[in-house]
Structures are given as C-alpha cells and as structure tokens.
Symmetry: C2
Subunit: 310 residues, 2 copies
C-alpha cells in the first residue's frame, strides 16, 4: 500500500463481547463495530479511529490495533469499564441472534471529538452509533469525498428524525434488508432503496448476510454474492468487516466510481466471510492479501458469464 | 427461432389451481409444474409435453398450450377430473405457502408413456413428479444430451431411494435451498451441492427464490440474481418457469457448456420473475422476447464489474 492512500476516518464502538454459540463461547473478546471495521479496512488503507474505551481495555487489544496501521490518536480512554455486549447465536447456520446483555459503561458518555488532523479525512465511516453522534462527527469533518453510514434497528425505532438527517448528509447508506423494509415501509427492496435514495445519498447498500448484498444507485443495481461459506463460528461483525472492505477499496482507489464500488462490494463480501470464521476479530486480523485476492477471484468467477474460469 | 432448435421433452403435472392471497383469489386456473415449464420454455424451443388431464380440461387451456409451439401428442386425457391443488400465500412478500388441498384425481394413475417420436428428445426435463415415474421416463429416452430433474420435499421424505437413482442418471439436479440441506444433511450450500454432485450429475442448481439461484459444478459456482421485484401477485410456478427458461436456453444453444448454463440461469431468473407477477401462467404466456431480453440485460448489469452500463 502506497503512502498516498487516503486514510479512512471511522467513528463507532469498541467493545468487549461475550458470545455464545450452541457449542462454544468466548468471553470479553475484542468487539464493537469500529474494531471490525478497522481491522478489515486497514488491510487496504490507513485508519483513524475515533472511539472510547475504559481503563480496563487491555494493552494486548491496543497493541493489536496499533500493529495494523490504525491511528489511535482519537481513541479516548475514560475511567471506568469498556462497553460490554453479550449475545447468543442459534439456528442451523447460527443465523438467529439474541442479545442477552448490553452495558454501555464509558460509551454512555461518548461525545466524539476529532483530533485536528482527522478533520480533513476524505473517506469517512459512521458506524452504527446514535444518529446525533453521527451528525456531531459530520459537523467536524471539513470536506470528505465519500461518507458512508450504517445503522441498527434501535435507531429506526427511537431516533428516526436524526437518522433522516444523517441520510441527507452522506454519500452511502448501509442497511440490512429488514432495516430497509422497516425504514421505507416498502415490501420490496428496489422500492425500499429508491425511498432511501430520495434523501440524497448516491448509493444505498442493502446487506442480506449469506444471500449477498445489493448496491443501488439511481439507475443501476449490483449484486455482490456472499463468499460460499463452509463454516460459521461467530457471525458477529460481518457487516462492519464488509464496510471495512468496501471503504478500504474506495480509499485505495482514490475515487468512488461504479467500478470501484462494485469491486469494493466484493472485497466487502470477502472480509465479511472471513469475519465469521472465528471469534472476535481473530480471522480478519490474520488475513493476508493473497488470501483475500484468492477469495475475490472466486467471487468474480461467481458472477462471470464466461464458459471457463479466467 | 429456427427449425433446427431441439425440442424439449417435459414430463410432469398439468393441474387446475385455486390460489388465495391476502387480497385476491383465483379458482381452477391452469397450473401444474409442466404447464409453467412449457409456457416458459416454448419461448425458446419447441416443447413435447407428456402429462395427463381429465375430461374436464377446458378447450381454452388446451388451445393456449397448442398456440405456443407445444406438442400435445403426449397429453393423455382420461375420464375423470384433472389434478386439483389449492394453496394460500401469506407474509410480507407472499413468501409463506400453505397447501390447503390436493386432489390427484386422474393424476393418481399417471404412467407416462412417450410417443415414439419423443424417445429421441435431446433435452429432457423431469418435473417434480414421483421419482419412480421420473425413472420410467428415463427408461424410455434413448440418448439425451441434457436431462434435468426437479423434486419436492415430499419425495425426500417418502421416496429417497428412488430420488437417489434419479440423481445418478441425470445431468442436472434442481432443488431449493431447504431441500438441498435436508437431502444432504449439510448445513451449508457448497457442501450440500458437493454431496448431490457425488451422485454423478454435472450440475446442481440450488434455487433460493428472491435471493437468486446458485449453479454448482465440480469446480465452479455461479450466482444468478433474482430479477429485482416490484410486486408479487402469485408465487406459484416460479421454479418451473425458471427451469423452462434455463432448458430453453440450453436447447436453443444446442449445447450445455458453462457459458450457456450461466446465461441460461439468467433467462431462468427472468421467467421466474415474470411468473409471479400474475396468477396462473398469464404473465409468462403474454411475455415477448424483447421484454425478456430487456430483463436479461438488467440481470447482466447486476453482475457486471463495469463502471457504466453496457
């Protein structure tokens, strides 16, 4: 990666997760949307992380992030405990999730303040934090080329006006299929995407897990296949890892034309597929570019009309 | 379509369906897997239909089939009533189906006998009838180039040995995702497809409705997007219409290389998307080639990595 690649600013949660599956558990492992995004995105571009942790955040977790071209100048450390989240997965392919416990801890008082050098970031990812915090960040960013936001059902239910304001100010909205249907009141995804596009973003991405992700612009649709899965160990973080791959590709390319976005969707799928193969960020943190390019070529072949593999 | 296009032999059910949705109903309308397949496939190639109806089968239904390059020389008419099927759809996008009534009527005694001229058919579709009947048909076919079969959960539950014999004798198996998981005992679709491929077919197609369809061969996977839906009026027959588009493309091309199969999957998606837009076979019976090619180009663009639409 050349020094000329634009750094990506990400604002979101860094957490300690406890995850149960029918056969395994992991306790207080590195999690939070921003962590997954950072480790996926940093394969492609330098990252600037704005988040908050407690004074219990381990040196090992900090060292892992620092080892990856992730600038921690915006990682605030407050007295108290780091955000804790506990969930249980079930179902044939661990597709059912039940949140057992959420302890915001120091995250309850999170007010993102961008270090001065971060304000000129050209590529920005607003992870799924409260919309008012996302807007606070946008107010501090000077002139980004590409701003993407994610959200969760909680904000659709409790902070819709703020979310609409966010949608009006970003280039790219990422949602999952249920969120798209709920937000728009439309049953079918093309109509749901059009409704979100009407707020102004150039791009709406609807994530559907193992069924792949759809990229909608005003007059085109792209379907990024999910990488064919052979196993799922912990589904946590797939969406944030996807966003890391996508925005990483945008930052590395230096523009966000349809060609970059479409290939970026495939990088997103690759990082999402890696994320679920192990607990926490273990698998994306150990992924190397040749492996990523190998999976990318499988995805490219999955949408090729050629009679033989390139 | 030139006279040189190979006719497709299809064996399956012709039925009269009664369908309820939350807002509409249709009574005793033309249905059955073979009907949907015929009307979709006949857009691409001549069809030879082997099926059975009762003496209540209307001249209008017969005339509709005959008007479409569908040879009815193998359509047996028995004294009694035509197969009747009644179902109710529900859910946000009518994705839930409950079968309310099945009356086999004359279909209960169906023993497919191929007219002599049909025995040399090069492209064959065994719709989802009882596996022993599918095997009866295979015994009467001389040397087909491409034989595809479909099935339903009922035969997985009640006729697995017969189904395994069918899988050993065909080139292409079509199943939906739930059937693939159940048949194989594998949770993930790539492993499920490999298990089915181990019986010998060169191709396994796993249909996932609005999530698109996957084509597996020994060393490649292709994902055909579903055409972006704006409405669903009656989901009946989408899978059979899909098969009609796919096998139609194979017959028209005269071979079943990966390029033909992959593009054929897209034609299948187009015909499936048309099938659900109206009750019975109404929409596929009225579809014209320019409209089909228009939808195909949307699907091609959905999997294109180009920065602008071709």
């Amino acid at each position: 990666m050349g020094d000329s690649v634009s750094p990506i600013l990400v604002v979101g949660s860094v957490a300690l997760d406890t995850v149960h599956t029918p056969t395994e558990s992991a306790t207080d492992v590195l999690g939070g949307g921003a962590s997954y995004f950072c480790l996926a995105g940093s394969i492609f571009a330098p990252i600037r992380l704005v988040a908050v942790v407690g004074d219990d955040f381990s040196p090992a977790n900090r060292a892992l992030l620092e080892s990856r071209n992730i600038d921690l100048g915006g990682l605030e450390v407050l007295k108290g405990k780091t955000f804790r989240w506990t969930a249980r997965y079930s179902g044939v392919r661990l597709e059912e999730r039940e949140t057992l416990d959420t302890q915001l801890n120091v995250f309850a008082g999170f007010h993102p303040v961008l270090p001065a050098a971060y304000r000129s970031s050209r590529v920005v990812f607003l992870s799924n934090i409260q919309p008012d915090l996302q807007l606070d960040v946008l107010d501090q960013v000077e002139k980004a080329d590409f701003v993407a936001c994610d959200t969760i059902k909680l904000w659709l239910d409790t902070a819709r006006p703020g979310l609409e304001r966010v949608f009006r100010r970003v280039d790219c909205v990422l949602v999952n299929d249920e969120e798209a249907v709920q937000f728009s009141g439309q049953r079918f995804l093309p109509a749901a995407a059009r409704q979100i596009l009407s707020y102004g973003p150039r791009v709406v991405i609807i994530k559907r897990g193992e069924n792949g992700s759809l990229l909608f612009t005003r007059d085109r649709v792209f379907l990024a296949p999910a990488h064919p899965l052979e196993t799922v160990r912990d589904p946590t973080g797939a969406g944030d890892a996807f966003a890391g791959g996508l925005l990483g590709a945008v930052a590395r390319a230096g523009h966000h034309g349809d060609d970059v976005l479409r290939r970026g969707m495939l990088y997103g799928s690759v990082l999402g597929s890696l994320a679920v193969e192990d607990f926490s960020v273990l698998r994306i943190a150990s992924a190397k570019m040749p492996e990523i390019e190998g999976r990318l070529s499988t995805l490219v072949d999955m949408i090729s009309l050629n009679g033989s593999r390139a």
